[in-house]
Subunit: 206 residues, 2 copies
DNA sequence: ATGAACTTGTTAATTGATTAACAAAAAATA
DNA sequence: TATTTTTTGTTAATCAATTAACAAGTTCAT
């Protein structure tokens, strides 16, 4: 299938989670406007996304939830689960791990985490072990891990990034404060709540 | 000044943090392409944003950092610090609080947090107290808090949201999993790392 | 059976964001 | 002094995302 627009992919991920919950209500069908209102979107946008997804609904009942979920699964889970890891199992890393683990279905799997703190190393959370950071290159190669979530606190992040890329990481989700350098071809998403706060503050006052 | 585009406001917030760091290197000037590369942006985009901001640079040296920072401050800090609070001081709430507190300058202030767990209530982090959740309406009104960051874990979020809006909250930053209902006129930003993970996974494989 | 009331699916129009293009300024160099 | 280099500032062009418009299918009520 043709490559989906960035924003459509983003929303499709949200549709899946909402639908998974909706399904437990044993509602077999959903209308575009219901799905839209659950996610504060425009119903037209929902229908357009689903059209791009290549799935279709029913003139009277809307979209069949199981069919929709299956369609999303096929699109987002290619060819099968992507492997990801968390670097830095402090408060944030631990919270993220539990949160991600709460997904009913997940196209991204986390089977290992890393830290340098001896108190964290060799512990497990939800059955997922925390390894010594020195073992990261070895384990990333072995398990073909592609995404690294950066939740550590350190001054010397650049050296770590280079090692991770060398081991096979193709994408970073960065929560650390400082700007980082990433070569072309490596994906990067940065998230900082301070930007969200300042943006909202601006909106409230303007 | 005319209302800035959403994306421009977002980037301006990032410029500020990068510039604040850059300033400590005692570099008095910065070129648009340097600022751009620190944030993985296009230099034209940076210049356009700064033009919209109403500030100007120098044909030979680029932009004066102190002047730029002042200009950003004037735009984002209107009329003065917005008050925000964190609801739920678990792992995530605590991590966010410390992270936000690490900002050198901040147009959004957090002076109180809330929880229902007696072990959290009446503790302080970085001098910021955690109050009993039952006191939220009173304190939100008193301190004119406008933004609530939702980092709690509960089944019954809707009732809490309604109480918070009633107390004067105008914007929510929601980290909780389930979909929430928000009346028109109230700002909402939802963030879920699972969407970022799935989006990145899709990009890596397509 | 006819029309009203819903819905989906799709194209067209609009709006918003990014990037290209280039004039103008300033300094460095030949 | 003329030319090259480098950078800002701005408009125009392009690209991406959203929304409007509406045909077409389905059921229900009359
Ligand atoms: N972007 C955001 O919105 C946001 C929000 C909260 C926190 N943060 C940032 O996330 C980071 C973590 O926050 P936290 O509250 O979990 O901090 P924390 O101190 O609780 O955890 C940091 C962890 O990183 C580990 N660590 C340090 N150096 C390491 C290394 N070289 N390799 C592997 N692990 C290493 C530490 O042992 C610790 O366990 C901080 O940089 C913080 O500023 C960002
Ligand atoms: N969106 C994301 O990317 C993301 C990432 C990590 C965690 N989360 C979510 O954030 C939430 C918190 O995660 P955590 O790891 O900090 O969990 P946690 O269990 O450590 O903390 C939850 C806190 O909320 C408090 N709480 C519960 N009910 C409350 C109420 N009615 N009022 C006030 N406080 C209340 C608890 O006492 C506890 O301190 C969870 O819902 C989790 O799924 C989201």
């Amino acid at each position: 299938m043709a490559k989906l627009p960035k924003k459509t992919v983003e929303r499709i991920s949200q549709y899946r989670r909402v639908l998974a919950k909706y399904q437990t209500l044993s509602e077999p069908f959903i209308f575009s406007h219901d799905l839209a209102s659950l996610l504060h979107l425009n119903p037209v946008q929902v229908r357009r996304d689903l059209m791009l997804l290549g799935t279709s609904g029913n003139y009277r009942n809307g979209y069949k939830v199981t069919k929709l979920l299956q369609s999303i699964d096929e699109t987002l889970t290619i060819p099968k689960s992507t492997q990801a890891t968390i670097i830095g199992m402090g408060r944030l890393g631990e919270s993220l791990l539990k949160h991600i683990g709460s997904s009913p279905v997940c196209p991204v799997m986390i089977n290992s985490t890393f830290d340098i703190n001896p108190k964290k190393i060799n512990t497990t959370i939800r059955g997922i072990p925390c390894y010594d950071m020195t073992r990261a290159p070895e384990i990333i190669k072995e398990q073909k891990i592609k995404i690294a979530i950066l939740t550590l606190y350190t001054e010397d992040i650049q050296a770590i990034i280079d090692i991770l890329i060398d081991a096979g990481i193709e994408g970073f989700i960065n929560y650390m404060a400082g700007p980082i350098k990433i070569p072309k071809g490596i994906y990067l998403k940065e998230y900082d709540i301070r930007t969200t706060l300042e943006e909202m503050s601006y909106n409230i006052h303007n």
